[in-house]
């Protein structure tokens, strides 16, 4: 097993106040290791999104701690947490959240631009990231000109372009048909083969479990089970295509 990249220790989270107060997470312990694709599964309202927000340094836990590469962000202000996110975290969303007025390449480049990386080097990196997800031919396309699967791959390219340590994916296949969904998972599994990176995928889709190295189940704000995958490597994972092979698979 590779070194831990992100560790959540005894994380609890209480949301709201008064009559609306909800204990969203209770003493959650979770470790993401390099070279692994971890899945977090659970029903609606189980605390998945809250945990994802805390692991993504968007929400501060009520108690407990989250460390990334051994670095704690306890008591960090909003700007400190934003810095941790831009340096270590790549995010993939269920509804893509691409910028509709930017091209695919520009959408990817935004992730570098917020880090202060601009110019031709950033452009080249964004083109390379799009090539990694099989979208070299869509560099100048706008989101409205792309299918859902293609848009999600742009979002993946945006998440990986700055080589973050952790990639957090929230229901990345929920808006896609099964063919596109599997292709997206294949890309994520390939990314997770890099020992310096860890991928966490939140999903309810049990058909995707074969892509994972480790599965955590969450219910009522508690991790109720951890289940390593059958093999040491994800079943479906193939090396990340260096070219446009994915395009052929997903159309």
């Amino acid at each position: 097993m590779n070194d831990p990249i992100l560790e959540a220790k005894n994380v609890s989270s209480v949301l709201g106040s008064g009559a609306g107060r909800v204990q969203a997470l209770k003493d959650v312990n979770l470790t993401l290791h390099g070279g692994e694709l971890t899945m977090l599964m659970g029903p609606s309202g189980s605390g998945k999104t809250t945990l994802l927000s805390i692991l993504g340094f968007m929400l501060t836990p009520t108690s407990g701690s989250v460390c990334i590469r051994g670095q704690s962000t306890e008591n960090g202000d909003a700007e400190t947490l934003a810095r941790v996110r831009r340096e270590h975290i790549g995010l993939i969303f269920q509804s893509y959240h691409l910028f509709p007025t930017l091209t695919a390449a520009e959408n990817v480049q935004v992730a570098l631009d917020v880090r202060g990386e601009a110019g031709s080097k950033a452009r080249t990196r964004s083109h390379d990231a799009l090539a990694q997800v099989g979208l070299s031919h869509k560099i100048n396309s706008y989101p409205r000109e792309m299918s859902g699967g293609e848009q999600q791959r742009v979002a993946i390219a945006r998440a990986i372009v700055s080589t973050p340590s952790v990639i957090l994916a929230d229901e990345p296949t929920a808006a896609l048909d099964s063919g596109n969904g599997h292709a997206i998972m294949d890309v994520l599994a390939a990314i997770a083969k890099d020992p310096s990176r860890s991928v966490l995928v939140v999903t309810h889709d049990s058909r995707l479990t074969s892509f994972s190295s480790r599965i955590h189940s969450i219910e009522d704000g508690r991790i109720v089970g951890e289940q390593p995958a059958a093999g040491s490597c994800p079943v479906h994972a193939t090396p990340l295509p260096p070219n446009d092979a994915v395009r052929a698979e997903t159309g």
């Binding site: 999104t49 994802l52 968007m58 700007e79 810095r83 340096e87 509804s95 480049q109 631009d113 917020v114």
Partner: protein
Amino acid sequence: MPLNFTLASRNLFHDRIRFVATTIGIVFSVVLVMVQMGLYLGFGQMVTKMIDQASPDLWVMRSGTKCFEDPSLIDARKRDAYLAVKGVADVNALVIGFSDWHMANGAITPVFIVGSNLKGDGLKPWNVVAGSAQSLSEDGAVAVDKTYSERLGTSGLGSEAEIRGHAVKVTALTDGIRSFTTTPYVFVDMSRARTYVGIPNTYANYFLVKLKPGANVDQVRHDIEAQSPTNEVLTTPEFRDRSRNFWLFGTGAGVALFAGALLGVIVGTVIVAQTLYSSTKDHIDEFATLRAMGSSNRYIYGVIIYQALLNAVVGFGLASLVGFAVVYFTSGGALPVVITPLLMSAIFLLTVVMCIVSAFAAILRVLRIDPVMVFTK
């Protein structure tokens, strides 16, 4: 080009109807400011036209004289005494005042008489386009501006009329000597000017003092004032400022022009603020995504500020074209709109500040964004 600028410009131009509406609002606002301030400058220039044209080293006038058109009288017999002051090269009396111009058809219109010594450095007609200023030494000769032909019932050189029962004849025509009061100027010889405005020969309204090279201005002023305690002595810039301040602020005209300009700024600020705020709300998911990706507040503010600056540049550019058209069409009028490069620069700066101030509401909105919303939308 920073990518947040690209994002700002694409978002701004993406919603064309909103962009056009905003631009119209900014253009309206900037043109209003431009015209009001242009009128302010034009008015300021018009009210001091006679002072600028005469431009002696010193003006001697009755203490408390408010402006060039103020008909307060001074003792004309003091001329020799002033000439004797050390450092004084020449002293010329100036007589001004309102009178009535009786046309051949019996109609009457008020005129403003300007009478000076034609042989000295007085205030003689300029921009003479027909006849000559020297002709004013002839009996009954007057010079008027050709733009007032209809008003005065004249048809050019040789036209006749009466002032205070005295026959006058137009012997010189000028071009562009217009009065902001709309009362036509009539240039005459000083001795007849007294007759036309009804003051004794022993009085004048001003003395225009020319100094010898190297003369001590303050000493000359002091020496002249010492001779006539009821008079005061001003330099041309001082008299210009006093006259301008009286007409612009003493009468409230300048305040009204500034109030109009302020209204323009307020209208523009509200329009831009409303647009930026609604645009920010429409794109709130994008701002939340940027925040979730770890962008700093500064980066996100950059998007909004760039939009504000783009609004400012486009709005100001179009407003400038309208402004230049207004300048062109008012240039021959009694009260031209004057737009100087300095005024343009100041209004551009004001437009930028106005648009940036307008961005505050939008910035406050993005400050409240919770990046977690990207998971729930």
